[in-house]
Symmetry: none
Amino acid sequence: MTKEAGPEYQKLMEDIRERITSGEYPVGRPIPSTPRLGAMAGVSVTVVRRAVQQLQADGILEGHPGKGVFVKAVPAQAESERLDLRTLSGQVAALQREVHELTGRAATAQPADFASDLAGIREAVGRIEANLIDLYGKTGHDYPQGSARDGAEAAAGRGRRKR
Amino acid sequence: MTKEAGPEYQKLMEDIRERITSGEYPVGRPIPSTPRLGAMAGVSVTVVRRAVQQLQADGILEGHPGKGVFVKAVPAQAESERLDLRTLSGQVAALQREVHELTGRAATAQPADFASDLAGIREAVGRIEANLIDLYGKTGHDYPQGSARDGAEAAAGRGRRKR
DNA sequence: GCCCATTTGTTCGTATGTATA
DNA sequence: TTATACATACGAACAAATGGG
């Protein structure tokens, strides 16, 4: 029978991992909210937070305040795709190629095409950030999730203003 | 200046790491107890638990119930790499946000707006790659993708992958 | 052997801040 | 403005392991 010799947050972690690998929680889409997961598993929000927090540290999930917790990678990928600068640079190059390609078609394509292409770009950026988090872990530091704005202003300086 | 971590548990993590590297908490010996660390740092036991828990996940600390939390390894400190990674992660976060905003406006905006917005995204990607190349140089490795402008020229010829 | 203080580990509940829609 | 949702932080309780009386 199912061996359940451990804390509940570890069981919940295993449960979430299985739902991701089985396709119930696809990559790029959000998992149920924290209180909802707690109601489903019959545990408090503390256990859910602990499990999600661990999976975030593993690079499998990614939380976005006000939106939800999104699946970033499949557990098998997070295990085998131990990344380094070479892989990260390859992904940056792929992203650059994709953006440039999309730019070239900006004059002739339809707005509906942009939506699907931008979705692919957004996934690429997510993968790059996942590698970045892994890189932080290898250097023994913590990933600055929301407080990283050293070079952010330069990249986002155009095309956005809030009242 | 260098102390600019948002959450308190991250500051405590950094503080513990520094005490380990400085030799105040030697490898193989226990760190102060949870309530003692809380009193020293002026925070609650919740923050201490969170910080210790994260450092345990990173393989730096190891807890033994009834005895204490012992130093397992010294965190690999690379100050220059950390700062570069911080900048890089900030740029990626800004790019991610920018792409997401552009995705949301995909249905209503005009092609002319996409052209200018994509120019900004391409600029951000180039900045990220430049930072990545610099990071390679400081770690003593060669950038595997060759020239920084190869990606743009290579994709300029004929961009036709999907669809 | 037994009791008890210390310490970690887990869980519960709740409050506040911030981001998003 | 309101509502939802994540992130952080506070306090409290219990179990299990350890070690000293």
